[in-house]
Symmetry: none
């Protein structure tokens, strides 16, 4: 984390994650846009070419952000310690996913990081040509789109990041509504959420609820529902406790049924 | 004026004026940013190199904006037909000038062009290295600055234009087109929610999870969790389906256990 320039502490909790960026010039321009708006955490998932002289030139005075960029091999590594994961994408009318515009995203992010001092928020930007894959979008709690001219909506990736980081800076005075309520535990990380979803998936099979042929769509629906509510670690514990109780009966039932055979 | 793509009529009344831009790549990136946000009027005052292949490449799908750009020899020619002239500049604390941020500028511009069908607004962007001269700022009715990290406030010119044109689009009613969400079913009524909570309470007892002495506090926690996510009617159906599946096993287990006694 870059600490050598003055910035709002909440901006330091926002990660900009670039997935398989092709052009190093774009990575440099993203670093510059980030530093201009006071952000410092840049994560590169499998960049095609990095480090790169072209990136450094485009970064201009943001060499520190570029030098401190974290390079990782998988998206999971990039977001494991993040409580809210947002995928930036062109608006898709047919995808049923919670969609936010940039201003709403910035508000959500600032509410999240001010509610929980440990919380971090990741904003994912996909490949220049093909964006994020479906599997990558499945890791997202929200999709965020930039309002655009409907007939020409494809922004350069650095321009897209510029709009997001500008809105983040504009939103820095937003406080969490939960802060006053003071009832929440630490928000669950993406890793803890995945653990819950795996457990749920298994438990739904154990209690003979889930039709495996419909799993992908069904689990996506469950993710949407629980991601919307921003589970905290205590709630994850409770929900998994309920699943375990249901599974315990399911095992007992299985044992008894086998006994009878 | 470019008319071949759908845009908000008020955006067509905003001129982006680039004064003595050095790098043709920046001109191309500005054209792209403008078209992305539905603007069409680009005016170049004494560009160093234009037309340019580099500009065309960076403009990507915004060749029409670039081709229709007006090249003029003086700033006066660029702004002669404009009612409001705003100079984009780094924030200058010692200059006594009406200063706006980008959002205020967009609001002012949209108010101006919707109040008067003939009105046009010019936003001036200076040279990459030295900005606008004092004589050029004297032609401005307002100065506008982009809020930034105070220790690194120098945006690339195309990035600066991107932030302005984004705010212009956000200030039109065009975004209302995007507002229809469409992915949610009808939100559950309070009565449907109560039905779900009753069902949950019973099922948690059936699967031997719930300690009755802690019911009130526990159920309050469950209510907070699910109320936060604003369940829709379809989600209520699914959640109750899961509860029913768990209860079915619980009943089978009870029957089998009684058989053995």
């Amino acid at each position: 984390m870059v600490e050598d320039y003055r910035t709002h502490p909440n901006l330091a909790k926002i990660k900009i994650v670039l997935v398989e960026t092709s052009h190093p010039g774009n990575i440099g321009a993203v670093a510059r846009a980030m530093k201009n708006m006071g952000l410092s955490q840049l994560v590169l998932v499998n960049p095609k070419e990095f480090p790169s002289q072209v990136a450094s030139v485009r970064a201009s005075g943001a060499a520190d952000v570029l030098n401190d960029a974290q390079v990782v091999a998988s998206l999971d590594d990039a977001i494991a310690d993040c409580q809210v994961v947002v995928g930036a994408s062109a608006r898709m009318r047919k995808v049923s996913w919670p969609q936010l515009d940039v201003r709403q995203t910035a508000q959500l992010a600032m509410e999240t990081v001010s509610a929980d001092a440990q919380a971090q928020v990741a904003i994912l930007f996909g490949r220049e040509d093909s964006g994020l894959s479906n599997a990558e979008m499945d890791k997202c709690h929200y999709l965020a789109h930039i309002p655009t001219n409907p007939t020409y909506s494809s922004l350069n990736i650095a321009a897209a990041v510029q709009v997001f980081v500008y809105e983040f800076l504009m939103a820095t005075d937003i406080k969490s509504v939960h802060q006053a309520e003071g009832y929440r535990h630490q928000l669950a990380s993406a890793e803890q959420l995945e653990g819950f979803y795996d457990h749920l998936y298994q438990a739904l099979q154990d209690i003979a609820f889930l039709d495996p042929s419909k799993n992908a769509r069904f689990m996506r629906r469950m993710r949407r529902l629980f991601n919307r509510s921003q589970l905290d670690v205590k709630e994850i514990d409770i929900l998994r406790g309920i699943l375990t109780a249901a599974q315990r009966q399911s095992n007992q039932l299985k044992t008894l049924t086998q006994d009878r055979d």
